[in-house]
């Protein structure tokens, strides 16, 4: 009894964190929900009025909205495929010890620490510029016509930049996970005559199942929020070719000052993210109970 009373004040230590996150989550979300039912433009602040679901109707019939949903899905999906497949292959490649392994790993994970605005601008200008970019030179070297990446292949270009930023994350996680792979088991399989691919297929890949799931989910959280890369390279264009949901909400809110419509769009993003979240929570929740 006395033990229980003695413990209670220590539980209060968690309160600041809980309250701060609660406020951070509930207050703005409630406001977003409220604004989404209002006609409210920052340019005409006096004219706000309840409009019901009109903002949603506006969004759902707005052609760019569906484009932005599609772009978001293509962007998230492509980057996930590139980083997971590339990450698995590369981490398996650099798994066995060799001279310089430490340096190779350092080089491989470096892009992850580069800030998004830098990554995007370096790629757009120094590498992908159709006239003086490094890739233009490389293309000419092989007798091909340089490609105007961000003008002709805008979404592909954004995907390239974002994949480059997130490939290192996948490599970092997979390399770490592979270190806990049972070497004796590998050796035994090899003794039994298992070849490279069989080992990869029946030992390595199953071992990586959970890390892959974690990488997919964590990346999905961040990829659904991609903004800066688009902001500094294409401004969502040409047209709406690279407008994703975050960028569309940004244009509605801070360029057109349409608070109501932006809030409706923000809620759509929340719903999209929640679908992802359900899976991630389950996954992490499972690992939590497994280990304790």
């Amino acid at each position: 009894m006395s033990a229980r009373i003695r413990k209670r004040p220590e539980r209060l230590l968690a309160q600041p964190a809980i309250i701060m996150l609660l406020v951070w989550m509930i207050v703005p979300l409630a406001m977003t929900l409220y604004f989404s039912t209002q006609y409210y433009n920052l340019l005409y602040p006096g004219k706000s009025a309840f409009v019901g679901l009109e903002n949603f109707a506006y969004f759902f019939t707005y052609p760019s909205f569906w484009t932005s949903i599609l772009n978001t899905i293509i962007l998230v999906g492509s980057v996930l495929v590139v980083t997971v497949v590339g990450g698995v292959l590369i981490s398996v490649l650099v798994d066995e010890t060799f001279p310089g392994q430490g340096i190779v790993r350092m080089l491989l994970i470096s892009p992850f620490f580069i800030m998004p605005t830098v990554a995007a601008l370096v790629w757009k200008n120094l590498l992908m510029n159709p006239v003086s970019g490094f890739l233009a030179w490389l293309w000419k070297l092989f007798g091909a016509t340089p490609v105007n990446w961000f003008a002709d292949w805008p979404l592909f270009s954004v995907i390239t930049v974002v994949s480059w930023e997130w490939l290192p994350f996948a490599i970092l996680i997979f390399v770490t996970a592979l270190q806990s792979l049972d070497r004796e088991q590998m050796e035994a399989a090899r003794m039994d005559g298992a070849r490279g691919f069989a080992i990869f297929r029946y030992l390595t890949l199953p071992h990586l199942a959970r890390p892959i799931a974690v990488v997919v989910m964590v990346e999905a959280i961040f990829l659904l929020n991609i903004f800066a890369e688009i902001f500094v390279t294409t401004n969502g264009g040409p047209g709406d070719a690279t407008t994703n949901v975050p960028y569309l909400v940004y244009t509605q809110a801070l360029l057109e000052f349409d608070v109501g419509a932006a809030s409706a769009g923000g809620l759509v993003a929340v719903v999209l993210a929640n679908i992802m979240a359900v899976f991630l929570i389950r996954l992490i929740g499972k690992s939590l109970t497994e280990k304790t």
């Binding site: 350092m106 120094l126 233009a136 940004y250 809620l267 992490i284």
Partner: protein, 276 residues
């Protein structure tokens, strides 16, 4: 014998392939570094100059004209402030969750994680308006609070997994000697887990330093950190590649070094303890 020879060849190919892949992945950073030491003319030249007379002109100009130090200071204050604030809130919370769990603790932890999944655009409008009304647009304080909040779930989780690995007996021994909760935390727990706490702080620092959604949307000049300074180079009239590269190199170098030093520990934080 032939088999061993084939193995040797395979191994060599593998090593070479590893190096090639690593250099390709790293190339954009290397190219940025090289370009930062070129003159603007060299930076634009076609075919690109691999050999050139290096110059520090860009760095000098960035420091003198672009007000680099102002932005760097903002980055240090916001990322550093967010890390300190985050740690102050996260350590006690992780302590309570790890050593005084209730039936609800697991659900609270998962709920915290779920706040991380709230997309920033979902709350962009209200946060922008709140900041405007509180006169906190373009303010470092607002960025510190926001950065701390978006990293708080990761920090609590990461510290929680470190605390969970520390045997409770150590704390109990201190308690037996008559130490209060505060003393136990500061004299025993924090020293024992300082490695884990340091890497948690480092992760928060890295993520805040590179954060670009809020820093681009909530600041203009006076509180703008390096991410915003770099973004200002995206306008067509400001297209100076060598200077862009110099700014970028300065902005990324410290974080890159910190990242290299702590790669292993970061895995735990970034995967919420699911991969160690």
């Amino acid at each position: 014998m032939a088999n061993r020879k084939r193995n040797h060849v395979a191994r060599t190919i593998r090593i070479i392939a590893s190096w090639i892949v690593a250099l390709i992945v790293f190339f954009p950073i290397l190219w940025m570094l090289l370009t930062s030491f070129k003159s603007e003319l060299d930076a634009f030249s076609m075919p690109p100059h691999f050999v050139f007379t290096p110059t520090l002109e860009n760095y000098e100009q960035i420091l003198a004209r672009a007000n680099y130090l102002h932005y760097a200071w903002n980055s240090i204050v916001t990322a550093g402030g967010a890390t300190i604030l985050g740690m102050i809130v996260a350590v006690p919370a992780a302590y309570a969750f790890a050593y005084h769990p209730t039936l609800k603790t697991k659900n609270i932890l998962l709920w915290m994680l779920s706040t991380k999944m709230l997309p920033s655009v979902g709350v962009l409008v209200p946060i922008y308006l709140i900041c405007r009304d509180l006169n906190m647009l373009d303010s470092k304080t607002a960025l510190i609070i926001i950065f701390a909040l978006i990293n708080l779930p990761i920090m609590v989780w990461m510290i929680y997994t470190y605390f969970r690995d520390i045997p409770y007996d150590i704390l109990e021994a201190a308690r037996m000697d008559g130490a209060s909760t505060g003393q136990t935390m500061f004299r025993v727990l924090i020293p024992v887990s300082r490695g884990g706490l340091a890497s948690t702080a480092l992760l928060c620092l890295i993520l805040s330093w590179n954060e670009a959604f809020w820093s681009l949307n909530l600041t203009t000049t006076s509180a703008a950190p390096l991410t915003a300074l770099v973004a200002s180079f995206s306008s067509p009239e400001g297209l100076f590649w060598a200077k862009l590269s110099a700014v970028s190199t300065l902005a990324c170098a410290p974080i890159l070094v910190l990242g290299w030093l702590s790669q292993r520990q970061l895995v735990r934080g970034l995967t919420f303890g699911a991969v160690k």
